[in-house]
Symmetry: C2
Subunit: 213 residues, 2 copies
């Protein structure tokens, strides 16, 4: 497998349109060089003053992933319970129900995901510069799409953020982890995610009064 | 010009690696359908609970752009003055000096940029969900790269945020604008931006003690 050549063909706009969150992942290992490649794509994102505030920590060790998954599951159960109840209503939208099922699957199987990729970043004036990391995070998600890896963006680990940061060797005050991206070979297929039409949210010059909601 | 076909060929990873900020723009007009296309790419970004909190406002009207540029320039002059002084030092890094020159150029010529694209988003519990918008913003920047448009990410308009939001027809409490992306045909070329090596910020399992900042 020549890592340098993998995923170099897929067109940018097609990739953007079909990079849906993939939460059902095979447990098979992923070459660390391929994870390095998708993280390198992250580094080409813009950042204020080109400060490049990111760090990428790819957790591959089985025991470490089990520990992270146990903390994640704990948060997820508390956080999602009201949503699971709400989803029992007969008029609950089908697309949302599918998303929730996938999120529950991820929480139950997180320990099996071969890579737990954390993106961490510098703080500034005591506050995490999380918005400075999200362009890089999006690049990583798109690069996963390009090389054929399933990935999704989660932040639920933040409920145990300080413990997890220390476990990763990060100083929670200086370089907290902002996102956890579980990565692996996809069980399902890439595809266009459900979105409202661009015409509901695109305006020239001024937003008309009736669209303000 | 068939808008649907423009930019569909460029590969994703190559686009990510060469989407440097382009701040020198030609004043020539850009078809609004092409701006709609790059914003549509924005809508395929992930958002928590698939809430899709974004609105895109493309300001093309000449007088409106002049007004926005005047407010932007005012902020920029105050904000950048210390940096301009610092850049006079003989040991100031050349790459940073080039970036600063381009930022000054943008501030002086913003009224000429044919499109001032604002990305606005819903607030939640009174706070702007800016981090929820940055994946979409990065998609827009990459889509500009794909279709051959120059673009860069700025947030300096926020110093006059409330005035600008009202001018755009946005409620500053409910859907503040987060980013201003000036867009136009590039005067220069796309290219690989200056970045430190991925090996300085990529770690497996644990960040070693000596790499913590």
């Amino acid at each position: 497998m020549n890592i340098e050549l993998i995923g170099e063909e897929i067109p940018l706009l097609e990739g953007i349109r079909t990079a849906r969150a993939i939460r059902r992942l095979k447990p098979d290992p992923v070459p660390i060089a391929l994870i390095r490649k998708v993280c390198e794509a992250g580094t080409f994102a813009p950042s204020g003053g080109n400060r490049q505030p990111w760090q990428f920590i790819a957790v591959t060790d089985r025991e470490r992933r089990a520990y992270i998954a146990s903390l994640y599951r704990e948060t997820f159960t508390q956080y999602i319970q009201p949503a699971i109840e709400a989803a029992k209503a007969p008029d609950y939208p089908e697309a949302k129900r599918r998303n929730m099922k996938a999120a529950i699957y991820l929480a139950e199987h997180l320990h099996e995901a071969p890579v737990h990729l954390f993106v961490a970043g510098w703080t500034r004036r005591g506050a995490p510069q999380s918005q400075a990391l999200f362009p890089a995070i999006q690049n990583v998600l798109l690069a996963c799409r390009a090389v054929g890896l399933g990935a999704s963006l989660t932040t639920a680990h933040r409920a145990h953020g300080e413990a997890i940061d220390r476990y990763l060797g990060l100083d929670p005050e200086k370089t907290p982890s902002i996102a956890l991206i579980p990565i692996g070979w996809p069980k399902g297929r890439f595809g266009r995610p459900t979105r409202r039409s661009i015409d509901t949210c695109f305006f020239e010059n001024v937003v008309p009064a009736q669209s303000k909601d």
